[in-house]
C-alpha cells in the first residue's frame, strides 16, 4: 500500500525566512509525485508534478525536488500570502488514484 508522510505538521515562519517541507513516500513504482496547495475552505490547487529522482520544478518562491524516497518543497523568502496547507501525493505505476499525505500547514507572519 502506498504511504505518504509529511513533516512537519505545522510550520510558522517570519516573512522572508526560507524553509523546507518534507514528503517521504513508499510506493511500488512511482508514476508521479504531486504537490498541492490548499487554502481554508477551498479545494487543493495543483502546484507541481515530479516524475523521476533528480527532477526539480520551480514556481515563484516555491521549488520542489525529488529523490527516490522523498520530496522537498522549498519556500524561499516567503510572504504572508504563502500561508496555506501544502499537500503531497503519489501515484503508483498502473494506478490512477493519488494517495495523499496529511499535509503541512505553513503560517507566514509579516
Amino acid at each position: 500500500e502506498d504511504q505518504v508522510t509529511q513533516s512537519p505538521e505545522a510550520l510558522r515562519l517570519q516573512e522572508g525566512e526560507s524553509s523546507s517541507l518534507n514528503c517521504s513516500y513508499t510506493v511500488s513504482g512511482l508514476r508521479g509525485l504531486f504537490w498541492y496547495r490548499q487554502d481554508p475552505g477551498k479545494g487543493p490547487e495543483f502546484l507541481f508534478t515530479l516524475y523521476s529522482a533528480g527532477e526539480e520544478k520551480e514556481k515563484e518562491r516555491l521549488k520542489a525536488t525529488l529523490t527516490k524516497k522523498e520530496s522537498f518543497l522549498h519556500i524561499t523568502a516567503p510572504k504572508p500570502e504563502d500561508s496555506a496547507t501544502y499537500l503531497c501525493a503519489v501515484q503508483a505505476i498502473g494506478d490512477y488514484k493519488l494517495s495523499f499525505g496529511a499535509g503541512t500547514t505553513v503560517t507566514v507572519r509579516a
Binding site: 505518504v4 508514476r31 477551498k42 479545494g43 490512477y96 493519488l98 495523499f100 496529511a102
Partner: protein
C-alpha cells in the same frame, strides 16, 4: 475556463437520512475522482471514474456509499442512512485523462450529520 463545480457547498442532515452530492467536472475531462477529507486529516480516496465506468471503487467505506456518472460529465455521490462519522468535506476532482495528468479539485461539499 470554468473549474470543477460542486453542490451544495454545505449540507446539514439528520442521522439516518440519505444525501446526494453533485459534481460538475471540467468539460472534456474524462477522469473523475471523489475524495473525503475529515477535519485535520489528509484526503481519503473514495472512487475513480473513467468516462461513465468506475474501474476503482476500492475506497468506498461501506455499501451505504455509491456513486454514478452520466454523459461522461456530471457525477453524484450518494450516502444512504447517514451516520455521524460521515461528517467530512467531500471533494471532487477531474483530470484530462486519468493518467499522470494533474487532478483539478472543486471546493467540496461540507457534510454535517447531526
Amino acid at each position: 475556463g470554468a473549474g470543477v463545480s460542486q453542490s451544495p457547498s454545505n449540507k446539514v442532515t439528520e442521522k439516518g437520512k440519505d444525501v446526494e452530492l453533485r459534481c460538475d467536472p471540467i468539460s472534456g475531462h474524462t477522469a473523475l475522482y471523489w475524495y473525503r477529507q475529515r477535519l485535520g486529516q489528509g484526503l481519503e480516496f473514495l472512487i475513480y471514474f473513467q468516462g461513465n465506468s468506475a474501474p476503482d471503487k476500492s475506497g468506498l467505506p461501506s455499501d451505504r456509499f455509491s456513486a454514478e456518472r452520466t454523459g461522461e460529465s456530471v457525477s453524484t455521490l450518494t450516502i444512504q442512512r447517514t451516520q455521524q462519522e460521515d461528517s467530512a468535506v467531500y471533494l471532487c476532482a477531474s483530470s484530462v485523462t486519468g493518467g499522470n495528468s494533474p487532478l483539478h479539485f472543486g471546493n467540496g461539499t461540507r457534510l454535517t450529520v447531526t
